[in-house]
Symmetry: C2
Subunit: 314 residues, 2 copies
Amino acid sequence: MRRVLPFVCPPSYPFWRQWVAALQEAMPDEHVVVFHELDARDLASCDVAVVANPSIEDLRALPNLKWVHSVWAGVERLVADLGDLDLKIVRLVDPVMAETMSEAVLAWTLYLHRDMPRYAKQQASREWLEHEYVGAGDKTVSLLGLGALGTASAVKLRGAGFQVCGWSRTRKSISGVQCYAGEEELLQMLGRTDILVCLLPLTSKTEGILSAEVLGALPQGASIINFARGPVVDEHALRRALDESKLSHAVLDVFNREPLPVNAWQWAHPRVTVLPHISGPTNRRTASALAAANILNYRTTGVLPISVDRKTGY
Amino acid sequence: MRRVLPFVCPPSYPFWRQWVAALQEAMPDEHVVVFHELDARDLASCDVAVVANPSIEDLRALPNLKWVHSVWAGVERLVADLGDLDLKIVRLVDPVMAETMSEAVLAWTLYLHRDMPRYAKQQASREWLEHEYVGAGDKTVSLLGLGALGTASAVKLRGAGFQVCGWSRTRKSISGVQCYAGEEELLQMLGRTDILVCLLPLTSKTEGILSAEVLGALPQGASIINFARGPVVDEHALRRALDESKLSHAVLDVFNREPLPVNAWQWAHPRVTVLPHISGPTNRRTASALAAANILNYRTTGVLPISVDRKTGY
């Protein structure tokens, strides 16, 4: 009986072939097969799978599955869907992903800082008009979440000359970054924020954390970047803040429903930049190497890597 | 007779009041007056003026003018218009401007690198589609011009992880940057360039340097950023390269005629981002301080700062 290592992803996921190839290259001793090409015997043989946003039904079809290795960092939906399924989830903690995500934070912060949305509107109406430039040193960028992604982003933003603040559940200490913790300090930080960048994991404690009240603590004309998960932001409160010009712009890479439905208000809102969840793409090569190391170690020693805490969700 | 220090700018320039205030604050012993508020006696009294893209007619109206201090770095039009007027031109060499310009180079390089124009088009058609991400380390950004602005930009781009090349008239040496010089090496450099950033001063030698032949040396799908001067690029060759999809995008901050006329093709071209000459805004505070130091030294010692070479134009 051949032992296969399945790659489980939604049927619509466009890059599954590339993932199978990258994983196969990183694990020459495994036989990597995409889920929808597994036969009945394969299904029974699998004790570990590599997953990219899999459906829980597909995972239930693998009766001997002990653990899954996600190639994405965010696994909150998977954790929520587990129910009575006794399955350990290992999520990707990829230093290269922190590099890519912090690059996106810098890129879209500069996009807002250098007024790109405003100049794009002017181009559409053939308007030649210079706006006053305010230097990075006179702007404060605040990060929600100071894990691997937030910390790497803070360092990049400091390097670009911005004033940088950061907020996390438990207080952190990062050189050159004003660190806040706890609910009361969140409002304090927002009061001095020009650009707010959300990198929080989605958990029961962070769902809807950007409420009308919290958004209301931002100064008039502030901007927001959400690279975390859609439900972290109260969408109605966000829409109202944009409609009332309380917020000058929102860069949204994540949504309550993805792909964003064609009739969603965000597509055509003049103060919204819609991105199709591309801020922190996983690097297939490095992610495959990390998964390979964990799976090889498991094959050799029987020991699983550290898995996600089902209570906190990360 | 009061001695006035005129500020000479086009009548349409929107920020003259702010400039007069900043210059006055930096030079409490001078009486700073905008050109159009000078009276006949003032006109006769001036031996030095601070200028921002002034008309040569206005300067001719100041019969005792010995030199002018530009608050802009680019003075090529002024030099070209001088004719028989015996006037020394001191241009702004402001380290803060190099900072602002190199920030713009990084910002719009990341704009292209992270596919922002493509995702903006997708948003307009409500299309949710992820494109493959290629890391900064696998892209080459090349700078035309390695003066103060080009060197500061090269350092920032290196810091962001890009492969960086640079070309200049005389060979430079910058750590971590592959430096090229001379016509033959220009084509060599372009052959390996993904994003080309133009920061050359406009001189008789650089006018039209980005010709059809030179643009043709870029790989299929390369992009270009022009933050220098419009005439450095052969506009017809650029348009053809964009129309034929040889170039994937152009970010243009400078044009042959500014403001860009409303009927110009660039406004509506799907592969062009039009900016109203905002990449390197002068910082009024630091520029005023630099002008003040030069003018005070002249008042005290009679010595002029180093002025522009009318042959090279910078």
